[in-house]
Symmetry: C2
Subunit: 261 residues, 2 copies
């Protein structure tokens, strides 16, 4: 790497799934000030639970909007994954040095990684070999305190920018407990817990007598080991789970080769 | 297991992402006749590319519709993942013996597994410890020939029903090449190829002069090994990739533990 390249200001792309006006993305943007040239490309409306959805049936809109002073900010009519694709192809005309997503209002530990638009945006970047991190705070409130999230987001982004070569598709799922920054014990690298929602639909009738259903559920942790994100968060650590997009179940593959091929 | 339980007819839940009226789901339903009691719960409109999206911001509708003779069929206003959740909680009031998804009109090999509503429905079932299989045919056409897909779907479902104990969260991603059944060489258990789309947005102007963007892209395979789904399909095998929902990158976890904790 040339010396000139080394001192070039890193390009930081920020997105989220709560929408461009959410307090969480404002907090994350503020936390990056001074670390590089920041761009925000985020959905124009809440996109929680969108998973890795992309928009193929209709076209996308992209509008320059007013964001934080000095930060080029765009709102996009698509999903978080669409935002990453559009940002790379249409806004940046190339890959940023890092793509960060969040700070999500609410947890994305354990199985939530699968449903989360925040994490899918990060995973999309990593597919493109852009180092990425998704940040989530365990507080759904619009008035959540992002102080600790900002401290750890900055710390982790600085770490990733210095350690990009750890993996070609580096992607981290970071969750921050909803406690005062002073109470947080530090960072814990974890695995994804097997914890999930036990769904129950709330069936109602509309004014015309037709049934409709609201998705509800209770979160349950089935994973009692101490190296999971759920354990770390319960014990006031910031959890960091490195994630990947190769879904191959290699152990089962070996078993099946003997039986099915 | 009691004898009574052994002879109980298996419950087969079918869903897809192309919608309840797609030829692919009709073909899959027909292929299951005689294997068990079949229920269809599928989206009321195309939901391709929806990934693991769930509907949390508004309620869901579920309507009984006319399907194949003798098969209870429902159309649902939600995503493929919503369909699985609703089917288990509201239609079946319990878990089926297997959940199958498809036959998708178009490939879901390699990175497509992440974007695919077909595969997300199957993965959702596996999270609930329901053995599941997603089927996709490498032919987008509404008039695609599902003959080979039906033969292999039946074969693989029979195998899974007999081998449920192979994994607590058994989930298979099955792709069928778009060739005559006689040309297919058999089944190949594979890993997910690192192959992806090189995106390019087609920028246009609407009649009012405002820009909009269509997602387009070219598929590129970066994985030259012979144990991938892309290789198998190119060589006229039915590809079977066992997939999992634990996204933890364990190798990177070990590296990070030394550097970040």
């Amino acid at each position: 790497m040339s010396k000139a390249k080394k001192i070039k200001e890193p390009i930081i792309l920020i997105t989220n799934d709560d929408g461009v006006t959410a307090p969480g993305i404002k907090a994350l943007t503020e936390a990056m000030i001074g670390l590089g040239k920041v761009y925000v490309v985020a959905p124009d409306k809440p996109q929680s639970g969108m998973g890795h959805a992309i928009t193929i049936g209709h076209p996308l809109r992209l509008s320059k909007v007013h964001g934080i002073e000095g930060v080029e900010t765009y709102s996009c009519s698509g999903t978080p994954v669409d935002c990453v694709k559009l940002a790379v192809d249409v806004v940046l005309h190339g890959k940023p040095d890092i793509c960060i997503s969040g700070v999500n209002h609410g947890a994305n530990h354990s199985i939530n990684v699968i449903y989360s638009g925040t994490m899918s945006a990060a995973l999309e970047a990593s597919i493109e070999s852009i180092p990425s991190v998704g940040f989530s705070l365990l507080d759904y409130s619009i008035e959540a305190d992002f102080t600790a999230a900002k401290i750890y987001a900055r710390k982790i982004v600085e770490f990733v920018l210095k350690n990009k070569n750890l993996d070609k598709h580096l992607c981290l799922n970071v969750n921050i407990p909803a406690v005062d920054a002073k109470i947080i014990k530090g960072i814990k690298v974890c695995k994804q817990a097997y914890a999930k929602y036990e769904e129950k639909f709330d069936a109602r009738k509309d004014p015309h007598g037709r049934r409709y259903f609201w998705l509800t559920g209770e979160f349950k942790n089935f994973d009692k080991s101490k190296d999971t994100d759920v354990w770390a968060l319960k014990n006031n650590y910031v959890s960091v789970v490195p994630v990947q997009f190769d879904l191959t179940h290699y152990e089962l593959k070996t078993k099946l080769e003997k039986k099915l091929s």
